[in-house]
Symmetry: C2
Subunit: 305 residues, 2 copies
């Protein structure tokens, strides 16, 4: 019997998977260091610690919204690993499948408060050889979930991580719904293969998220959301993020992922999300207090180099 469905009074499902959760999110999280005042990294002398990680941010957000969520990753057997695991657990996320690596450190990064895309924005990653970069098909135990959430960042971390991502996005019997956030980070790829690999992985996913700007940067698609859909017709759902403008979602009629769509498919246009003020601690990248209903900010915590 599935404990989560029972807890919510939903239809009881008899299953042999006692670890079944709504969503498994897999990926690296890092401890972040954010300056206490504006300025260049060379000039700022004190930093506040936060946490960052595209997939664990999704996990925390979904857990806060009432879903059962497991975060699967690797961290160092060190103080920063302790901090990541306990902070993410404090949002109600299951962290029991997070492996501790005694010989590889937890990744960290520093960034300035400057806006992305401006000269004032600097990011310094210390994630090469991190515990999470050693994720592999032999090492990771996802358990059972209805949805598996992944991002393209994981594919860039190491050869073993790329192999894992290829396995998880390959077709197989009984696969969970695979959600994939492209998250192209050109600075993380050791070679020029990033765009090609990300397209290959996205084609294997059921739900894909990609920024209109990153699709242009990675794949040189300039015709807007429809052109991106032409390049990526396979996923049942494609969400093109358009920054302050909102987003466009394409839903195919195939219904392979169990989503309801009109015959022939449809495109939905979404307005912009509510603005968050600069005083919002989530925007500053410092993990807000889950007891106050906050969740880490994906925007602030995974920034391109």
């Amino acid at each position: 019997m599935d404990r989560h469905d029972q807890d919510r009074g939903a239809t009881t499902i008899v299953t042999n998977a006692p670890d079944l959760v709504d969503v498994v999110a897999l990926g690296e999280s890092m401890v972040t260091f954010l300056p206490t005042r504006p300025g260049r990294l060379a000039d700022v002398s004190s930093f506040e610690r936060g946490i960052g990680g595209a997939e664990s941010n999704v996990a925390c957000g979904l857990a806060a919204a009432g879903h059962s969520v497991r975060w699967v990753s690797r961290v160092g057997a060190d103080g920063f690993g302790d901090h990541l695991v306990s902070t993410i657990a404090s949002y109600g996320v299951d962290v029991s499948a997070v492996h501790r690596d005694p010989s590889r450190p937890t990744g960290v990064y520093f960034r300035t408060a400057g806006d992305r895309g401006t000269d004032a924005h600097e990011v310094a990653y210390y994630r090469a050889g991190s515990a999470a970069s050693a994720m592999s098909t032999a090492d990771v135990d996802l358990g059972t979930s209805r949805v598996l959430h992944l991002s393209g960042i994981t594919a860039a971390l190491s050869d073993s991580c790329l192999e894992l991502m290829r396995k998880l996005t390959a077709p197989r019997e009984g696969r969970p719904l695979v959600s994939f956030d492209v998250n192209h980070r050109s600075g993380l790829w050791r070679d020029a293969d990033g765009p090609r690999v990300l397209l290959e992985l996205a084609r294997g996913a059921d739900v894909v998220f990609v920024g209109e700007d990153e699709a242009e940067e990675a794949w040189e698609v300039t015709g807007g959301p429809s052109s991106i859909r032409e390049l990526l017709p396979e996923p049942g759902v494609l969400v093109v993020k358009q920054g302050a403008t909102g987003a466009t979602a394409f839903v195919s009629a195939a219904g392979e992922c169990g989503l309801v769509a009109p015959r022939g498919g449809a495109a939905y246009r979404h307005g912009p999300a509510p603005l968050r003020s600069a005083d919002d601690p989530g925007v500053q990248g410092v993990a807000p207090d889950p007891r106050r209903g906050g969740t880490p900010s994906a925007r602030a915590s995974e920034t391109p180099p």
Copy 2:
């Protein structure tokens, strides 16, 4: 004509080495992050930036004492590299031979305020693959100096750094006086070769510094300073550091390094250095203001993992 001797009114030396300095110190320096309050790394949320590096600490101290000193190293072409170079230059150290690496980062480390050797002491290094680890015989330009100061840490950074250290401690015509601080850091060595390599390098140096405790840890010498001298008879000067007790210096009669010693050699016993209070910013690891005559604290800035 040597500008430094001229400036001090010393004997004028005609030389073809316009870059002649008293001392060249070669080694990695890192940006350090020190908690603003006691506690484990997992629990501390804000950090103050400092700088650390055994060899650059020596360089800053000697420059503050009026010597002409050059620091030779590699740092990333990043904000932390800018900070290291400008801070060390502010002590009057020549940093013109420091190479900037566009593809490798400046090393950083975090540590707690707990005393070394206690459970409360944690250090997290992020220096693997750093800019300085790429130092090599092909890359480093030392210029000309009377003294070359090195430490055993450099030998542990990479194969190319070890090759460089072997070259610099090998006998050759016109070699400067080579000063070598053993600085055994077991956590930095990728294999069990550290102690053997450090002994080999120390035997090639003219002046060697080693802690009584580290000689015991690395070489299993338990008989005190005289036993360490028996293991290391080659250097003209051997200084055995004995923590709060002081130090013992052995000076050979050979006079190879131009030092004055009584016929037959001698051992000198030095009392302890003045205690520094815990409020001393140098002890906290934050670089003190050189305008107030402070120098970075070697004790605080290079701590064993």
